[in-house]
């Protein structure tokens, strides 16, 4: 993946056009563009590496199975995240439980590192309606429009959930944030 969004967008268009024409080898290019992003998103949603790997693999397989319907109209990324999200929700229904990522490395000062663990725990405890916008917008830096499309809601509704999610998170964290100052 390049650091230039325009290059990524051109590459995405090229791979999608090739895939829609039946060139299944273009799938590798799409995976190269979005594989890590989808893995990171599914890992944050599911909280463990194995499930995130399964969900990432299944996301791209679903794309492959529907490759004849693909259009290079700029909505592919959102569609990809929506597939990944649905797979995560299915997996969460199966497990009913969320594990805290145990392999994450929290670096920095000791206080900040400890706070990050606390934040991660508090985030996992939030209702899904609040957690998802926080993961997409604040942790993964996805635009409000793309996040709203992924969740199938309007941008104002997304902003409202984001706002309520941040407030809920602050309430859960209590005075922990004060210690950082």
């Amino acid at each position: 993946m390049s650091s230039n969004p325009r290059d990524d967008s051109l590459a995405e268009k090229r791979w999608l056009t090739a895939l829609a024409k039946g060139d299944s080898s273009a799938m590798g290019g799409l995976y190269q563009l979005y594989g890590e992003k989808i893995f990171r998103y599914t890992y944050r949603m599911l909280g463990n590496r194995t499930d995130a790997e399964d969900a990432t693999a299944e996301t791209f397989l679903r794309v492959l199975r529907r490759s004849a319907d693909l259009r290079a109209d700029g909505a592919f990324k959102t569609w990809l995240f929506r597939i990944a999200r649905n797979l995560c929700i299915d997996k969460m229904r199966q497990h009913k439980l969320l594990e805290l990522p145990t392999e994450a490395h929290y670096s920095g000062t000791e206080e900040r590192a400890a706070l990050r663990v606390t934040v991660q725990q508090a985030l996992n405890d939030l209702p899904m309606d609040y957690r998802e916008p926080l993961i997409l917008c604040d942790l993964e830096d996805i635009s409000a429009k793309e996040a709203a499309d992924t969740l199938g809601i309007s941008v104002p509704a997304l902003k409202s959930r984001l706002y309520r999610g941040r407030r809920a998170l602050r309430e859960k964290l209590g005075g922990s944030l004060e210690k950082l100052k």
């Binding site: 590798g28 594989g35 492959l64 407030r167 100052k181």
Partner: protein, 100 residues
Amino acid sequence: MNDLYHKLVDLYAGHELPEDLVALLEQAAQTDPSLAMDMSQARTLVDLLHTMPAPGFSEADHLRILFKMHTAASDLPENPFSPEQSETQPGTQYQLPMFG
């Protein structure tokens, strides 16, 4: 503090307020300690969330995902995740590490 006030603070925290409103809010905070604390905590949280470390994506993760896709796509006439395919695909790396 009313809901609108809270939303304004949230926009401030997310660096989404125009500069003139930021200046106004910061000015108001100088005489309102509870507003100052609210703004500071909200921004600290958003900044912290933006700098939360991303889950590591290692070569081993990459290979395991490719292996899962390759296995699951084995019924397809042209498996795009096979090692042969990725050799012709410059953007894709799929070479198992050699040991011994």
